[in-house]
Amino acid sequence: MDEDNKVTKKQVIETEVPLGTVHSAAIEPYRVRLFVEDEIVKDAEITVGVNHRGVERIMEGLPVEKANSLTEKICGICSNSHIWNSVLVAEKALGIEVPERALYIRIIMEELERLHSHMLYLAHGSEVLGHETFAMRIFYIRETVMELLRMIGGNRVQYGVPIIGGIRPRAELDLMRIQKIKDGMDFVEEKITEFAERFVSDPMVMSRITGVGILKKEDAIRLSATGPTLRATGVDIDLRRDMPEYESFEFNVITQDDGDVKANILVRVLEIPESIKIIRQAIDHLPEGKITNRSWDMEDSPVTNNYIEVPRGKLYHSYSLDDGRVRNVIIRTPSITNIGAMEYACIGYHITDAQLAIVQCDPCFTCTDRAIKIIQI
């Protein structure tokens, strides 16, 4: 036991405080061991795999439509991202054209999901800060977005809008729905602006979040952070800018320079108006026409992959098709690459701030627990 750890033994570490797997700050189950010396975190170890369900394993050999709807169950926060990316892989492999209108509606769904995911992040962040009121205000705003998602997809959490070749007929946007989305976006924009002003002008909150959980640019790149966490350290990268789906939309990529909790929160807060901007553009220029392209044939294909930008960063799906069934599935979610950043960001801060430093990277451990245990079949 001691031989492996000769190097790390030099560090003065007094005590270990294990938290989880059931804990009030981390609603999801994961284990974090914080090594503290006089309440200052010296090292951290995050153990994932607690909610490993083996989704890739059970996806093996399923018909591709069924497999797509299973990917949705990977995560309840970014479910649309998973099903969209999975559908995109199949479309790429089979060479299916997607009608413009379907594409626009998919993007509306994705951006609505980004809205609710970022708001959940803000609420969770406020909750970890100990600011119940801010959490409740945010949940109040988020409810509008949830209602819009329910209206379009029929369910508050897993909407299942994209299918291969287009979108589900239920998710077609008629005039009434478009009007509701417009009203909802106005409401959310107004409220979130108010909230953001209130948030950044609160001296107590600002003193808690400024200069806590700092992640430098070089470290973030070295630890392969992704998404808003990387953007908060000053790296100007957003896959949406390079995705063909987003070609016709105008939006800004938000970056901040500090890499602390404040920068992370600001990136997410400022991305909300950008998402609203994209939704408004999509609604204003919503093309007419059919929503599903049904003229395609199933054929075998080698391993195909696809990347998209989801609320937490870069999402990777790949699988091959064999007789209409899915084989060799690999899914890599953004949170798994952010774990290094989480462990690194909480070192050197008070233990209460350490939780905040973990939460600042927007962890979604449900997404993360994908790794397959390789067995002999």
């Binding site: 797997t21 059931v22 804990h23 009030s24 609603i27 999801e28 189950p29 795999g49 607690v50 909610n51 490993h52 369900r53 083996g54 989704v55 394993r57 059970i58 996806m59 093996e60 050999g61 399923l62 069924k66 299973l70 169950k73 990977i74 995560c75 309840g76 926060i77 479910s79 959940l120 609420a123 909750e127 119940e132 959490a135 409740m136 949940f139 109040y140 988020r142 409810e143 949830m146 369910n155 508050r156 959490v157 897993q158 979604c364 449900t366 627990d369 245990k373 079949i377």
Partner: protein, 148 residues
């Protein structure tokens, strides 16, 4: 109604244990506590994270391998009388993870919940709706009220 059941009905502490579903049910349950729209506290339901304080255990998710033992421990830590609500399709029957019948079944799912601890109320849905969770808490109440 005796003082005992009256006080039990007027103050219900709910603990949420999340055993590895997809986060969806979990967020909806937290939503129904935190969102001013649902506000469970007006129905005298309080969220707690301490098993010693809790009366009602809400379990979501299909119970993965690493969560089985913690779930038992937490159930044991709650003093009598206690009730368990299984919320969501995964908690009720293992959900898609157990029942999708792919080529290789998942070895990780130990659930559903009632294999591990006794369940008193079941809330269906994927994901559960906040209204249903509140209704489920009400459905579990008689067990608490009539307990010795």
């Amino acid at each position: 109604m005796s003082l005992k059941s009256y006080s039990r009905a007027r103050s219900v502490h709910v603990m949420l244990v999340y055993t590895g579903g997809c986060n969806g049910c979990d967020i909806e349950i937290v939503n129904c506590i935190f969102s001013p729209k649902y506000d469970a506290e007006q129905y005298k339901i309080f969220l707690t994270w301490n098993p010693r304080e809790a009366d009602v255990l809400v379990v979501t998710g299909p119970v993965t391998k690493h969560n089985e033992q913690p779930l038992r421990e937490i159930y044991k830590a709650i003093p009598e009388p206690k009730a368990v609500i299984a919320a969501g399709a995964c908690a009720l029957m293992g959900g898609v993870y157990k029942n999708i019948n792919g080529d290789i079944p998942s070895e990780e799912i130990m659930g559903p919940v009632d294999k591990i601890i006794p369940v008193d109320a079941k809330v269906p849905g994927c994901a559960v709706r906040p209204e249903d969770v509140l209704a489920g808490a009400v459905a579990a109440l008689p067990k608490l009220l009539n307990a010795k």
